[in-house]
């Protein structure tokens, strides 16, 4: 299988619509015959990232690259950035506002889930500039 590239713009103003990009990636991966457990990991990790871009930033872009070996997701926003990445990665840490907490967000589990469901993850962020999260999921487990 040669590399396939998918690109999405995630609008920043409507988090009820967040999940459309991850839903569409899920469908594409299913058509490619990727195993269901792999698709589930990609879908959850990407949705968490997408939601974060909408709730904590002003939307952004998602680029997904599928090769025979792995799936790479790059989520890029030009939001406020994360001051302390280690603290943001801590389970339970959240700055989510009340209006989204009442919808079920704000457990402070999004970044920990992204880490849990991916094989590689890096978070690059600069305050006032933005955040880029890169995640990779292996299609065949590496020995």
């Amino acid at each position: 299988m040669s590399g396939i590239h998918l690109h999405y713009d995630v609008p920043g103003d409507d988090f009820t619509r967040a999940g459309e990009a991850s839903g569409s990636v899920k469908k594409a991966l299913r058509q490619l015959g990727i195993p269901a457990e792999v698709i589930r990991k990609v879908a959850i990790a990407m949705y968490e990232g997408e939601i974060n871009m909408v709730i904590h930033a002003y939307g952004g872009t998602v680029d997904v690259e599928v090769t025979g070996e792995d799936i790479t997701m790059v989520l890029k926003d030009t939001g406020p950035g994360i001051e302390d990445i280690d603290r943001a990665m801590t389970a339970g840490y959240s700055t989510a506002p009340d209006n989204v907490r009442s919808l079920g967000f704000g457990a402070g589990m999004g970044l920990p889930n992204m880490k849990k469901y991916t094989d590689e993850m890096t978070v690059e962020s600069e305050v006032g500039v933005g955040t880029t999260v890169t995640m990779k999921v292996y299609i065949t487990p590496k020995a």
């Binding site: 009820t16 619509r17 999940g19 589930r40 919808l103 079920g104 967000f105 457990a107 589990m109």
Partner: protein, 110 residues
């Protein structure tokens, strides 16, 4: 046990449900914090929650839950229902609290 058989055994309302009503239920998860659900629920779980909106439908789809069962008399809102139909996520509803419903499910899945 399929989603349809479960709905019947529990005598709950089927708010919407298409082909996925014939999906096999593998287990059960209860929770309302969406990231907690995505971290802990397993594929094919019946998910008991009081979150009846677009976002819970998105979570059920992406986390591959067998269906959503809204407890405590909560109803799926109109946008959520439209999305559930489009994504083929069955949505069930009951007046009963989460614990009582989960206890019945535990007995049925034994």
């Amino acid at each position: 046990m399929t989603v349809a058989e479960m709905a019947n055994a529990l005598s709950v309302t089927v708010r919407c449900g298409g082909d996925a009503m014939s999906r096999e239920i593998g287990g059960c998860y209860c929770g309302d914090l969406l990231s907690m659900v995505m971290g802990r629920a397993k594929a094919d779980d019946i998910w008991l929650t009081v979150m009846g909106n677009m976002n819970s439908v998105a979570v059920a789809t992406l986390a591959d839950a067998a269906c959503i069962l809204l407890c405590e008399g909560v109803e799926m809102d109109a946008e959520g229902e439209a999305k559930a139909l489009q994504q083929d996520v069955p949505v069930l509803q009951t007046e009963l609290p989460v614990y009582e419903t989960a206890a019945k499910i535990a007995a049925l899945l034994k």
